[in-house]
């Protein structure tokens, strides 16, 4: 401990350790040493040393067939994050009700880093395949949960998002700022947002906000179904009801710690 000289001038060792961990992503959940080095811009020798130490500490695991992957122990400690545990704990029973009533994908997302971050997801055996996953991120403007979160966000934040230029994922992605503003006004009026084929062709989603005592949307609950034959107007009351029930449960919990879901872009 006398040799605790971890951070010289330049990057601290802590930041390098985190850089190695953060090199992994949903698209890259297994990485070779070369990929870690490329991703972190650390020398190969440093990458090797840190990866080896992280394997020793069970934060990483050696993948079958070489390379590295995130370890079980990191998942365990990550699961202790209060900002990801409290909301799902409250909302999950109502999500299960919604699943039971529909047998479709049911999701819960919060606004984080200018994206929709999915805290929870239920998936049926015959539900339409969707891009959502627990701990995954999707764009605000092309998802129903995102439109809900935008509708209840401060105007300046919405204008920032619109001003950044919006990606078109399908021919149906709404990217015109004027159209989005009108849609958000409608979401505020009705409490329900829709997307049809905007992120993935063939997928229709309906979302509704979880509102705290101050009327802020702390999260959005959604259902995603096959566009073929889907009647979003029929799904809307079910989603809205589940979200209202969850909102009521939320407000009954004093001093809910929903930190880390801030609106920073």
């Amino acid at each position: 401990m006398a040799n605790d000289n971890g951070d010289g001038p330049g990057r601290s060792v802590t930041s390098k350790v985190l850089a190695v961990l953060y090199a992994f992503s949903p698209d890259r959940y297994q990485l070779s040493l070369n990929e870690i080095a490329a991703q972190t811009k650390l020398p190969l020798s440093t990458s090797y040393r840190l990866a080896t130490e992280l394997v020793t500490g069970q934060a990483l695991e050696r993948a079958t067939g070489g390379g590295y992957q995130i370890g079980l122990r990191l998942w365990e400690v990550g699961a202790l994050a209060p900002s990801t545990a409290t909301l799902p704990e409250i909302a999950l029973p109502f999500m299960q009700d919604l699943y039971e009533a529909t047998h479709e994908n049911v999701q819960l997302a919060v606004l984080n880093g200018g994206e929709a971050l999915y805290l929870e997801k239920l998936r049926g055996r015959r539900s339409v395949p969707v891009k959502t996953r627990r701990a995954g991120r999707l764009p605000l403007h092309a998802t129903a949960v995102g439109k809900v979160l935008l509708a209840y966000a401060p105007k300046s934040f919405v204008e920032d998002v619109l001003g950044n230029g919006l990606q078109r994922y399908t021919p149906h992605t709404v990217v015109a700022p004027g159209h989005i503003r009108a849609a958000l006004a409608e979401v505020r009026r009705t409490g329900v947002a829709f997307t049809r084929d905007e992120l993935s062709m063939g997928v229709t989603s309906v979302a509704s906000p979880l509102l705290d005592a101050g009327g802020n949307a702390v999260a959005a609950m959604s259902i995603s179904v096959r566009s073929t034959g889907a009647d979003p107007q029929r799904l809307a009351p079910a989603v809205r009801t589940a979200a209202l029930c969850a909102s009521r449960a939320l407000r009954a919990r004093p001093a809910l710690a929903v930190t880390g879901t801030g609106r920073g872009a």
Copy 2:
């Protein structure tokens, strides 16, 4: 990067960083700086520096009211652990079926570090409160999932567990090695394990294994209900059916990476 002198003789900085993260637990999800220092046996100054760097890197967050908690970003990266994602992805739809048929707590656990590690949990609005939580750990001998995992574990492992001396959680916890061996033989014969008031008074659980192509129990699925009025023999076919369905789906997946669920004590 020229100053990459992170690990002197003694503990590496990586191991100290992980020690700070691992100081958090389900019982201690918020820690003060003093508590981090006490838990990690690091000097207060080092603890402060590492905690501050971890907050900068979003692995930790400042808790409202002081102290630290695990950050959203660490949860996100932890969720990339393949060993915790693959099994729940396969099993969740069948767990949802079981929930729908019973409206009780439904759990999925694997053997890890000599304990039952819960990968997934569904909880109904009126389900009996239980100690299980996603990413939580419970003892093998006092849980239904644990008895399943023990029943299919190598004999030497079982004898190690029995030899370690078993904790009694309630007057009903079975701790006599002879009784446990007999119960495990019965589990192997029937494919179902039971606990009644063994970990928590008032809670009865029924579990069944998820078997891979080699007949190994890679996980156990369970249901937990109020002991009052519970008829475990009636629940058993439902749990067994859901577990068999999940096993079938599991075997249909080639090369399933269920690493990190090893049987080390």
